[in-house]
Amino acid sequence: MNRRNFLSGSLRGSLMLALGGVLGAITGRAKARNTVWQIDPFQCTQCGRCATECVLELSAVKCVHSFDMCGYCQLCTGYFEPDPNKLNTAAENQLCPTGALVRSFIEDPYYEYTINEPLCVGCAKCVKGCTMFGNGSLHLQIRHDRCVNCNECSIARACPADAIHRVPADRPYQFKSRERKS
């Protein structure tokens, strides 16, 4: 039995060295930092998969609004169906399937569009309308009060534009803004 103990002892020692080697190789080469998943809104193509691919029943992705980019248009192409009957808040005129985009009058001719987050499903219909015909101020973001930070984001796996990546946890959002030029 002595030979056995010696053998297993030395094997144990070498496996411990191997574990230490893995630890050293990983911590030595790349900075270990906490990261979370986020959408790059400039890469997003509004395909609608965010609403369906998230592991949560109601996606962690929601529409957010960068108000400083918004034109406060009376005819908002993110809010209204193409060729709406009337420019009012009737449901048949709205693009949003859940009525999560709220239109409120500020002053003639300006309207403000805010998102009722609990209703938003992240389908990107409004984002598409705003990006194609407007200023692109509506965009999708992963909301970290909902995201469970899966080891591999299943929306990222399905994203055709490869727009979802891990970002440092201390800068967890990538909002669009007027200043961004690159």
Partner: protein
């Protein structure tokens, strides 16, 4: 390359009101101290289970910690990050120096292995929520025939090889994608995965821990570490009297029988078989390398970039007319198709190399398995198989010596096999 957003409409000029522009809210990410708490709970649970299994020899204690782990690491933490999945982060980091791994992942990946080197697979016993959940549903254990048990256990080694290939090449985390129990912990998921998880649990009522034994890639690593562990599960607290009462107590086929009364083969047959298997080993490895080279291309097709390049090639050649979301997104961006093709070629090459290694690994594993089956160790005691024992503590109470130690009534002992 992100484009400049078209500013089709000028910003509003409010004159009648002094309306201020709102700013989007930023819900906070999970606090860092909660991550450290997870690491603390992991280490505390490992210490507790190791003590309960090896010192207290308490099955009920193990069950208690198991229920806690299912609730905490499972339903509360949604099974993520888990040690099984962390293999992929660690492999990706080893092969891609720009890929960082946070402390939580390092701890979940390495600490249970370190514990296994000293205390055996106490992580599997009750700390891993996957294992604990399956342990709780195991009500009517049936014995899996030896040949089937040994063959099915090979699946886990192959799964580990494939998971490392995909993680190291940036092709995705298949362990996470095909995890059967995380959808149950989350209480949501795709129908196929929920059905897979539920059916594994139903099978698990009869077959002890099917995922742990036959699929878990982390269990493979833990098994290797545990096979040279410093301390280990000892069925009897005293000396083995060969009473054979523990023989059927293990639900996982992890008790090595005493070979005192086993008929021994003539030495010449043993030797011939060993030589044959030693010759077979390099043949198996070479075969694995060959098959890996063939499979590499197929595996590469699963990678996003290779997939996209193949699609674009079809579109460019006019073989297909329409576009996919991915190819349309690629064309909409400011991307060079030549760079993409070059990337795809490089990836294809990486996959072929990785698949050859994986094939060699599978060949080696099968060869060593056959060798280990051919070598008969002359055991004098009934003892737990160090690599396969999940430290669940079920076998303790089957030993009359243990019952005596605890002051419990000892059942009628059958005649010892060796008279």
């Amino acid at each position: 390359m992100p484009q400049v957003v078209a500013q089709r409409f000028p910003p509003p000029q409010f004159t009648e009101t002094s309306h201020l522009l709102p700013v989007p809210t930023e819900p906070a990410v999970r606090a860092l101290w909660l991550d450290y708490l997870d690491i603390g709970v992991l280490i505390a649970a490992l210490v507790l289970v190791s003590w309960l299994v090896l010192r207290r020899r308490s099955r009920s204690g193990v069950v208690g910690v198991g229920i806690f782990s299912v609730l905490y690491f499972g339903f509360w933490r949604k099974g993520c990050i888990c040690s099984i999945g962390s293999i992929q982060n660690l492999s990706q980091a080893l092969f891609d120096s720009s890929f960082g791994v946070p402390l939580t992942v390092l701890a979940f990946g390495l600490v249970p292995l370190l514990f296994a080197l000293f205390f055996g697979r106490t992580f599997c016993a009750a700390v891993c929520p996957h294992g604990a959940l399956q342990d709780l549903v195991l009500l009517k254990p049936v014995k899996v025939p030896n040949w089937l048990d040994h063959s099915l256990r090979m699946l886990a080694w192959i799964y580990l090889g494939l998971a490392v290939v995909f993680a190291a090449t940036g092709g995705g985390y298949i362990i996470c994608q095909y995890d059967p129990f995380v959808p149950i912990f989350r209480l949501s998921g795709s129908l196929t995965m929920v059905l897979f998880g539920v059916s594994l649990l139903v099978v698990g009522i009869f077959v002890g821990r099917p995922y742990c034994r036959f699929l878990c890639p982390y269990g493979v690593l833990l098994g290797v570490a545990a096979s040279v562990s410093k301390w280990r599960v000892r069925i009897t607290p005293d000396t083995c009297t060969q009473c054979r009462l523990c023989e059927e107590s293990c639900a996982f086929g992890a008790i090595n029988k005493s070979a005192v009364d086993a008929p021994s083969q003539p030495r010449a047959t043993d030797k011939r078989r060993l030589i044959l298997l030693l010759v077979l080993l390099p043949v198996l490895i070479a075969g694995g390398i060959g098959l890996g080279g063939l499979a590499g291309g197929t595996l590469a097709g699963k990678h996003r970039i290779v997939n996209l390049a193949e699609r674009l090639q079809l579109e460019e050649s006019g073989a297909v007319q329409d576009t996919t979301d991915a190819s349309a997104a690629f064309r909409a961006g400011n991307n060079s198709i030549e760079t993409l093709y070059a990337d795809a070629r490089a990836l294809h090459h990486r996959y072929v190399v990785a698949a050859r290694w994986c094939g060699a690994w599978i060949g080696l594993v099968i060869g060593l398995k056959l060798l280990s089956l051919a070598i008969v160790r002359r055991r004098t005691d009934y003892e737990a198989d160090q690599a396969h024992c999940l430290s669940c503590a079920r076998c303790y109470r089957s030993c009359p010596q243990e019952l005596q130690r605890l002051g419990l009534p000892v059942p009628e002992t059958p005649k010892p096999a060796n008279g």
